[in-house]
């Protein structure tokens, strides 16, 4: 060990402090750079010659534990944020409490105008007012439906954007990873690449829920939390077949033929593909929020509007057709003239001591059969779809086949009559009741029912067609019967001999909306399959508004909660891995001192050499 060794040690010290200074400078410069991880110079006393200090490289002060938690939290907060954002817009669709455009105000105005009409049926002003209010209500449903579908379209294009971004990120991650593995030394460049990759992964984590596995040598592989590989040395590729201008009948289905919206398919580097939506592989992040909005929340909002439109139309237009009793064997006979596609026949009978409740639904296309029990809101009934296109003989034979074994017999005594009788002397079955709900199609049918609301210009009967149910998206098409618009007095005149002062029809309409209780389809999210929501149309509208308000509030609260979690994690992450100016400054002072000390060592050695040389002089 000589002075030369000391000089070289001091020089390595100077070099190390310079390096430390450059790290501090870099840290301070990046104090507010998102995703920047605090760097530190990695020092070792085992320099090449065994003396002095060696700079091994640039280290990243990364708390991987917190980073992992942060990635999960980012997915959660992005999910909650997107959901909450959509909900806050959705709730606007329902208007301000008591506001002129809120659904309940418009409905209340409509029924109030009806009550006025009940008191003054002859008043053309009152008739006109009812039509105006009904028109405004129908148009509001159209507009709300449009808003909901616009949001679905926006979610669809949001998904498309997110998928594109995911592909970019995965490609970037792949590129950066190649750079990192190329530079095996932990130098400044590789630290920057790692920062960049972490930033990419963090952004990816915001889009969908991911799991990152470190493989050593700074290599990572990325999976969704459901286990689908996104990056494993090579990026997978996501593709999305976006559809434009969604409407209510364009919904998600695992059957590609019925799917009206886009789906995300992932192609892995080996060429295998997987449908991420069908496999429910995306569970959090803004992408999951967009998919949930598009396929669940907004679809439910639409089906609530459709349910409102459906009950508005049918409660006013459907009349109950009674049956007449027949004897020997006992049963009932009903005239099905006027039964429309989607109309129902209710049959109640007892067979072998077991009560049965059957709802027979008319369809005109055998391809939609068999119908699901959920076709009616009533949880207690058995739904039987019957194709009426083949005439009454075919109807009777379909019914006898469907209910064979219950000891009841259907027949057609003539015309459109349907007769059902028990087994007579066998006495194992009894028919309890038979009635039908038939949509009135004309204005002066002699019955107070009125097809006031129509599907565009055609009669609405809740028809079931191969192309989909008439109910789907009805809220976007509901309109006032043009025939009523051109003759407002038909709000009162239910037959050619009705007096214009007769309040029967306005009163009927008022009662149907305000006091007649009915069951609502639980598919809309209100009520359950076992206990369908039962109430008036007015009640149901209140439920819908209430539910939407509550959902929006919950989403907002969830978002706030997630935000708190994210903030505290972010705080911890910043504390452990972010740049702290004070720390850097104290490092700076230390480095300054160290530099000064090293310089001082050099100066001392120089002086010693000088002294040595002077001895020589």
């Amino acid at each position: 060990m000589g002075l030369n060794t000391a000089i070289s040690s001091a020089l390595t010290g100077l070099h190390a402090t310079q390096m430390g200074l450059s790290v501090v400078a870099n840290n301070v410069a990046n104090v507010n750079t998102p995703g920047y991880i605090r760097k530190s110079a990695l020092l070792s006393n085992t320099a090449a010659g065994g003396n002095g200090v060696a700079v091994l490289g640039i280290g990243r002060e990364l708390d991987q534990m917190v980073q992992t938690q942060l990635r999960t939290a980012v997915a959660g907060v992005n999910y909650a944020g997107s959901i909450s954002g959509y909900y806050s817009r959705l709730v606007q669709v329902y208007g301000a409490p008591g506001g002129g455009n809120s659904l309940d105000t418009l409905f209340n105005n409509f029924t109030a105008s009806l009550n006025t009409l009940t008191a003054s049926p002859d008043s053309t002003a009152a008739q006109g007012d009812v039509l105006n209010q009904a028109q405004v209500l129908a148009q509001q449903l159209n507009a709300m439906s449009g808003d909901v579908q616009t949001m679905r379209s926006q979610a669809e294009s949001g998904i498309s954007d997110a998928v594109n971004r995911i592909n970019q990120l995965l490609q970037d991650i792949a590129d950066v990873s190649n750079q990192i593995t190329a530079s095996s030394e932990p130098d400044a460049a590789s630290a920057a690449f790692l920062d960049r990759r972490d930033a990419d992964i963090m952004e990816l984590a915001g889009l969908l829920d991911i799991r990152v596995t470190s493989l050593g040598n700074n290599r990572v592989s990325i999976f969704t939390t459901s286990g689908v590989s996104l990056y494993d040395g090579q990026p997978s590729h996501l593709s999305f077949d976006a559809k434009t201008a969604l409407n209510a009948s364009m919904t998600y289905s695992t059957d590609p033929a019925e799917r009206g919206v886009g789906t995300i398919s992932l192609t892995n580097p080996n060429g295998g593909t997987i449908d991420l939506i069908a496999n429910n592989s995306i569970r959090s992040g803004s992408l999951a929020a967009l998919i949930e909005m598009r396929d669940v929340t907004l679809v439910k909002a639409q089906s609530q509007l459709d349910e409102i439109a459906n009950s508005l139309a049918l409660s006013l237009s459907n009349k109950t057709v009674p049956s007449t009793a027949v004897t020997g064997p006992d049963g009932f006979n009903i005239d099905l003239t006027g039964l429309q596609n989607g109309n129902t026949i209710s049959l109640s009978y007892t067979s072998g001591g077991t009560p049965h409740k059957v709802t027979i639904v008319r369809v005109d296309d055998p391809s939609v059969l068999p119908l699901d029990n959920s076709q009616t809101a009533d949880p207690g009934d058995q739904v039987i779809g019957i194709d009426f296109s083949g005439g009454m003989a075919s109807v009777v034979s379909q019914l006898n086949t469907a209910l064979s074994g219950d000891n009841i017999t259907f027949s057609n005594p003539g015309g459109n009559q349907l007769q059902v009788v028990d087994d007579g002397a066998g006495n194992t079955s009894d028919i309890n009741s038979l009635s039908a709900s038939v949509t009135t199609t004309t204005l002066q049918s002699g019955d107070p029912t009125l097809p006031l609301f129509t599907d565009g210009r055609s009669i609405y009967s809740g028809a079931i067609n191969a192309g989909g149910d008439q109910k789907t998206g009805f809220a976007s098409r509901i309109a006032i019967n043009p025939a009523v618009l051109s003759d407002p007095s038909s709000l009162v005149l239910y037959s050619s001999t009705t007096n214009i002062g007769d309040s029967t029809r306005p009163d009927f309409i008022y009662q149907q909306l305000n006091t007649a209780s009915q069951l609502f389809d639980p598919a809309s999210g209100i009520g359950t399959k076992q206990g369908a929501y039962s109430g008036t149309v007015a009640d149901y509208i209140q439920q819908v508004i209430s539910r939407q308000g509550a959902d929006a509030q919950n989403a907002s609260q969830l978002n706030d909660g997630q935000q708190v979690v994210l903030n505290s994690l972010q705080q911890r992450f910043n504390d452990s891995s972010g740049v702290n100016i004070d720390t850097e400054m104290s490092n700076l002072i230390t480095l300054q001192n160290a530099y000064g000390a090293n310089a001082r060592v050099l100066t001392a050695i120089k002086q010693m050499y000088d002294m040595l040389l002077q001895i020589g002089n």
Partner: protein, 504 residues
Amino acid sequence: MTTISGLTSSAFMKSQMLVQMQKQMSDLSLQLSTGKLTQNYAGLGIDRGLDVNVRGAMSRLSSYEDVISTVNTRVQLQTASLEQLRTLQQDMRSSMLPPLDFTLTANGQTTAQIQAGNSFAVALDALNQRAGSTYLFSGAATNTPATDTADHIMNGNGTAAGFKQIVAERLEADQGADQRGRLDVPTATGDSVGLAEQNSGPFGFKIAGATTTIPGATVSGPTGSPASLSIDLNGNNPADGAKVIVQLNMPDGTQKTITLTASSETPTPSGSFAIGATADDTAANIASALDGAIQTAGKTDLVAASAMAASNDFFNIDADHPPQRVSGTGPFYNATSLRDATATDTVQWYTGDDATDDPRGSMTARVDDSITVGYGVRGNEEAIRNAVQNFATLAVMSFSGSDADAHDRYVALTQRASDNLATNPAKQQLSAIETQIAGANVSANAAQKRIDDRKPILQGILDDIENVDPNEIGVKLLAMQTQIQASMQTTALLSKLTLVNFMS
């Protein structure tokens, strides 16, 4: 350990915190300026269901209020009209109280009759009263006047016959060509007096019966169809004062009693028959006196009764009962039946809703969630029709000063009209209609009171849910302001407390 943010947190997070507070501040100031807690249903919290429900209830209450005010107006107008009818009816009766004034004016009518004609027109006006565009006495046919015009009703409209013609036709059918009220001339066969109806259907006199105080004499009948009866003296010649009494039913349901008294005076006084030498002679005298009495009744009581029957035929109509006309073609002396009139051949005096169900139900209004009141009135209801038809019947007749029977006929007419217009518990009264519609109004007003009570409560609930107390918001705003100031100051202070500032 509590993490103190500030020094260690990044500038972004500090600014985000401040932004959050600023947003709360602007929310509060929006609440202060609008007075509303929120601008959407999400912000209402747990009470949003109640809010929507209460709004629905408030809207219904408002619509009930409108309806109640409509009902009030209409019932008031209806009551005014009914009051007017009642006054007309009472005044008409007063004018016919004895002593009866039978002074004929230029057109052959008494002042009471002219009053009846005016009352008839005024009554029709009252029935065609409208509230806005709604006729109040047409039942459910609120866009149609309750009645035709007075002129059409009386005089007909083109080919459609009016009341005058109906009365004239019915009179022909009731009187017969010989004005004996469709009775054959009484006959005397031996000592037996015979009286027989012609084949006259519902018209003319109907023999109700006869009695006599002549000792030994017997009455047989009325029997057969057409009915006939005979009074047999059985060889007994009556003494002075013995009576023969014949009762005849008339078309309006009244009865004419002809009383003939045996008399030996010369000349035989009116209302008597001469006692002949034999029972056979006396029988001939009875027959002749009876014939005279029948002819007189045929020109007096029967005329009034026929007019009353005609007024019933013409005015007592509803959906199931069209006006009745004498069948056949005129002259109708031999008519035997009535027929349903058609709208083209006969004026329908009542043009409103003529259904036969409860008239109150023809106009209804919902004044509360579960209360519907009925206040409809139809002009053809018994009490109203009765007034109108008696006014018309009084007004339809005219008299000639030279007609010896005119006075008696007038008396017969006014007696009947006066009876019909009198309060009769067996018939519907105008006051009954008034009471019923007033009842509807009372229900409506009671509902209004409930609404008055309920509205402030509901409004209170809404205010509690939707509104904010400006004082509370003011305090919150101040607190928030202080908080933001403190945060900003602290942030500023903390940012100064960095080592950078202390290095040189």
